[in-house]
């Protein structure tokens, strides 16, 4: 049988299309057979939801170093944060710092002495425009719909771009194996919380706004341990407690001039001073 060029191309074209289509149909069928096609995933109904989570931290209610330490310990114990003494290697999710380091540029020589000497509780600001998220090459850190700046430890490649980008020093790199021991043979994680993972050497970690607690309807650990000094809530909800505090009292945020829109408000004066 002789065949002209035109007829050959027609047949070749049609059979290619049929072949490709057939392959994809077969693929689809075999995948469907294997996959748990009817299985679904849903959020926990107990979980707390918001448009934009935020904190109001009343600096006057956090008087003594013991008050800070309670919040820091609550967070670090729950999340298996290693306590490494060498400041170059230390890992911190929540920590305290002096006024001039917390709010640089706003200090002055005639400042209230008590204020100048005071320590402020600092943690990830969960910015509305987070610089760390913009620079992350693997989208290991990302902004959730409810405002939490999440850190996906599975994806982190440890490039530390986010640490360079974050203006608040909220991120720590695991220079040491967090499950390791210090020079005296003491483990960095004193008591492991068996229900939460640790991290591994070479990833960046930070406060995750207790996403694992929010998901099952609990407040963040620091807010719970703070005796009311740290109020947690939805910044977009005008009736939330956190908004009422921010509306009625004088609050400041860290480095607002950088435009990252931090979600943590420090209540400076009580309503009696405002």
């Amino acid at each position: 049988m002789s065949m002209d060029r035109r007829r050959f191309l027609k047949i070749a074209g049609v059979s290619t299309v049929l072949g490709l289509g057939g392959a994809s149909v077969m693929n689809g069928l075999s995948r469907r057979g294997l996959e748990a096609s009817q299985a679904t995933v849903t959020p926990d109904p107990k979980g707390l939801t918001a448009k934009r989570w935020g904190f109001a931290i009343d600096v006057n209610k956090l008087g003594s170093p013991a008050d800070y330490q309670k919040c820091i310990d609550a967070c670090h114990n729950i999340h298996n944060v290693p306590s490494i003494e060498n400041p170059k290697h230390e890992v911190k999710w929540i920590w305290n710092e002096t006024y001039e380091h917390s709010f640089p540029g706003t200090e002055h020589e005639y400042m209230n002495h008590e204020f100048k000497e005071k320590n402020f509780l600092l943690l990830c600001n969960h910015c509305a425009q987070p610089a760390c998220v913009r620079v992350c090459p693997t989208q290991a850190t990302f902004k959730r719909k409810d405002g939490v700046v999440m850190q996906d430890m599975h994806r982190c490649i440890g490039c530390r771009f986010c640490m360079a980008a974050c203006p608040f020093g909220a991120r720590s790199f695991n220079y040491r194996d967090p499950r390791g021991k210090d020079a005296n043979g003491k483990p960095f994680i004193k008591v492991e919380n068996k229900t939460f993972p640790t991290r591994m050497i070479g990833v960046v970690e930070k406060c995750t706004m207790c996403y694992e607690r929010l998901a099952i309807g609990q407040q963040p650990a620091c807010a719970e341990a703070s005796n009311g000094a740290i109020v947690f809530g939805d910044l977009e909800d005008p009736n939330s407690e956190v908004r009422k505090i921010i509306n009625s009292k004088y609050t400041i945020r860290r480095k607002p001039e950088l435009g990252t829109q931090p979600s943590i408000y420090y209540v400076i004066g009580g309503s009696e001073h405002a």
Partner: protein
């Protein structure tokens, strides 16, 4: 053939070396790994069933775990409803390893046999091995 003796001798030596692993392991059947399921928690279960069928878990557990991981960390979806409509809390450390509290006898058995090294437990805390 020039140097025929040397070439043939060389080829024989090469063949002997090349096929050495096959001769060496001849007759030594490599025992098939049998992961153990007899943890106290599993023994107390009324219906001894994982989140999906045994065949599905055998073939697809790695994909399921990957999906679970992304589901929780990235989408905050923590409840898994399987094909039978049963619900599970998605958590390697708290759900999977609660039943399979024998990592050495369960996970490691096959993974060592297959020489795969998943890095789940470089971060997730493995259960205290149950000696019973």
């Amino acid at each position: 053939m020039y140097n025929g003796g040397k070439i043939i001798a060389g080829m024989l030596v090469f063949l002997a070396f090349f096929t050495f692993p096959f001769y060496y392991n001849l007759g030594k059947a490599n025992a098939r790994p049998e992961p153990k399921l007899n943890t106290p928690v599993i023994q107390q279960l009324a219906e001894k069933k994982c989140v999906e069928s045994r065949d599905f878990m055998r073939a697809e557990h790695m994909q399921l775990l990957n999906d679970w991981r992304d589901s929780v960390v990235r989408d905050n979806n923590r409840i898994y409803k399987n094909r039978e409509g049963k619900e599970f809390s998605i958590s390697l450390q708290n759900t999977c390893m609660n039943c399979h509290s024998n990592k050495k006898e369960f996970c490691d058995k096959c993974h060592n046999y297959m020489a795969v090294k998943p890095y789940c437990f470089s971060c997730h805390i493995e259960p205290k091995e149950n000696k019973s």
